[in-house]
């Protein structure tokens, strides 16, 4: 009887993952169908089937603006959520956010420096994402220098170092914001609100590569992340190379968040909220939580971005406002729930 119950539970969790995976194409299609430029079902079908019988402007709007944007939102949301799931699992802390390891603050610093010196248009506009990515990576490299192999309290030390790094980056950021010209200040503020409006196909491809790499690394450590929920020492007794798992998980999260932030600015809450949704739906096993968080994060940001470009059309809303509008209430509800985490 209980043998059946345990099997039922895992079958149900796998079923839900399949359901989530099936939802993603529907959400992508819906987001691609909706927008300021009206595309009817007939035209949508023609566009998807490659028919030439569609006005050139509509074709350009669909294939060069809307579809890359939907994909960018999905990849950014998926990357942030996957990184969040990895970091939360690693730190065994439901409040851990990829921002905790300093990568977002570092990326913001890189971008703000770009704006400060007026370099955001250099290298055909690629210097800005490069600077953001480099800033994020640098922050994590500094953090990892505090990662002195496996020792008791190693994770707590990393979190504290992350807090200090964030505070330092924040103060440097504040200094540049204070000294910036009015023009640069407005651009910086805009960047920190996050947006998928600048989506182009090359960025989509770059992000896809990063998401694939991050997924590969984290998927390999899914079992180790499960074991880490018993505590780092117990995980080590079970055969987990804790120091390596910790280093590679943080590196993967840094790559994912760095790339996502580079192209879409800082977008909050997805990395915190999507992994929680995944756990609520599928339980605690990371081989399910990681892909589910990726799918949920992708769908959340695609929907938030859909709102950003349609709610006040033809004007754009900052997507950060909408992710917070979805994420905020969920977070409060999470705080009210009797916690199943024993921190």
């Amino acid at each position: 009887m209980n043998r059946a119950a345990a099997d039922d539970a895992s079958r149900r969790a796998r079923g839900r993952l399949v359901l989530l995976a099936a939802c993603l194409p529907l959400v992508l299609l819906a987001a691609a169908a909706l927008g300021a430029v009206t595309i009817g079902p007939a035209d949508l079908w023609k566009l998807l089937s490659g028919s030439a019988d569609v006005p050139a402007v509509v074709r350009a709007v669909f294939w060069e603006i809307r579809v890359p944007r939907v994909f960018l939102a999905a990849l950014v949301g998926g990357s942030l959520a996957l990184a969040g799931a990895g970091v939360q699992g690693l730190f065994r802390n439901p409040l851990a956010d990829p921002a905790l390891i300093g990568v977002s603050a570092g990326a913001a610093l890189g971008a703000v420096l770009c704006f400060f010196f007026g370099w955001e248009g250099l290298l055909g506009g690629w210097l800005l994402p490069l600077a953001a990515f480099a800033g994020g990576l640098l922050a994590v490299l500094i953090l990892m220098s505090f990662h002195s192999g496996f020792a008791a309290g190693g994770t707590a030390k990393l979190i504290l170092a992350g807090v200090a790094l964030n505070a330092m980056a924040g103060s440097v950021l504040g200094f540049f914001l204070f000294s910036a010209s009015d023009d640069a200040l407005r651009s910086m503020t805009f960047w920190t609100l996050g947006s998928c409006a600048s989506a182009q196909w090359p960025q989509v491809l770059v992000l896809l590569v990063f998401l694939a790499a991050g997924s590969f690394i984290l998927r390999r450590h899914a079992r180790a992340l499960d074991a880490l929920q018993l505590g780092e020492e117990q995980a080590a007794h079970l055969g987990v190379p804790v120091a390596r798992v910790r280093g590679e998980t943080i590196a993967a999260a840094a790559l994912l968040v760095g790339a996502a932030t580079a192209f879409a600015g800082t977008i909050g809450f997805i990395g915190l909220v999507a992994p929680h949704m995944a756990r609520l739906l599928l339980g605690g096993l990371h081989r399910l939580v990681l892909p589910a968080a990726l799918l949920l994060g992708a769908m959340l940001l695609v929907l938030a971005d859909l709102g950003a470009r349609t709610l006040t059309a033809p004007a754009e809303l900052a997507v950060g406002i909408l992710t917070a509008a979805i994420g905020g209430p969920f977070f409060l509800w999470l705080l009210r729930r009797p916690s199943s985490w024993s921190v």
Partner: protein
């Protein structure tokens, strides 16, 4: 130094210093296949630290720990985990995981061909926990979770044809008397099946009933080590704990019990 092959776990003159405080001082002991060694001693004597060094988690400053004849530091984490299973005192509960899934974690170091689910189910049945298999770990009582942790630790060693080392840190601290006997009985059976078992215990009577050998650790030193019957004597224990321990009942009958009294 004696480097001849000895199955089980051997510690030779292990010394550990942390923050200028000597925690272990020249501890030598042997956890032998087929035997259950109990480590007892007052609070703060260094018992849990000893377990961390024996399991290879901490490196001793001096001395050596050998697992199946090879220095424990020379094992990779997975190979070590297949030979030596540890049940810690501070077992945290995995959020959102079922009991069955938590026990399957014991098989983490075993290869992809391993049927973790079958092993986990077997161990849960051994501990009379099959009814809880689908329960969320967060919804277990403290005692239930301790039994689940033992089942997971036992699952880690369940490899046919080879004896492993089992290190248990206060495995019965949350259990009622019936389940204390259930768990220690299971530990005894594992020893009888060829595993080398070490258990840190506090209950003197359980120690006397289940241990083959007893090591008494006081202030980081192994004061005495030997057959249980020899060490579980009121005089030795009174001296070690600094309080009066007396034996009640006949000196050699099964009804004999050790009772501690205020000075």
């Amino acid at each position: 130094m004696n480097n001849t092959f000895a199955p089980g776990l051997v510690a030779e003159a292990v010394t550990l210093t942390r923050d200028a405080r000597r925690i272990l001082d020249g501890v030598s002991l042997e956890v032998k296949p087929g035997r259950l060694l109990a480590v007892i001693g007052p609070n703060g004597a260094g018992k849990s630290s000893l377990l961390s060094v024996l399991s290879g988690l901490w490196k001793a400053d001096r001395g050596e720990v050998r697992l199946d004849g090879k220095a424990i530091g020379d094992y990779g984490p997975r190979e070590r985990a297949r030979r030596c299973a540890v049940m810690r005192q501070d077992n945290l509960r995995p959020a959102g995981m079922s009991v069955l899934e938590a026990v399957e974690l014991g098989r983490l170091a075993h290869g992809a061909a391993d049927d973790a689910r079958a092993v986990a189910r077997g161990q849960l049945a051994q501990m009379d926990l099959s009814d809880l298999a689908a329960r969320d770990c967060a919804r277990l009582s403290g005692g239930e979770w301790q039994r689940v942790a033992f089942a997971r630790t036992a699952a880690q060693l369940a490899s046919p044809g080879r004896g492993g080392v089992l290190l248990l840190d206060e495995p019965v601290s949350s259990l009622d008397p019936a389940h204390q006997h259930q768990l220690l009985g299971a530990a005894r059976r594992l020893a009888a099946a060829g595993h080398a078992v070490l258990a840190i215990l506090h209950d003197l009577n359980l120690t006397a009933q289940y241990a083959d050998e007893v090591a008494l650790l006081v202030a980081g030193r192994l004061t005495v080590c030997g057959p249980a019957a020899q060490i579980m004597q009121p005089a030795v224990l009174s001296d070690a704990y600094g309080c009066r321990v007396v034996a009640v009942g006949s000196a050699d009958g099964p009804a004999r019990a050790l009772v501690s009294l205020p000075d």
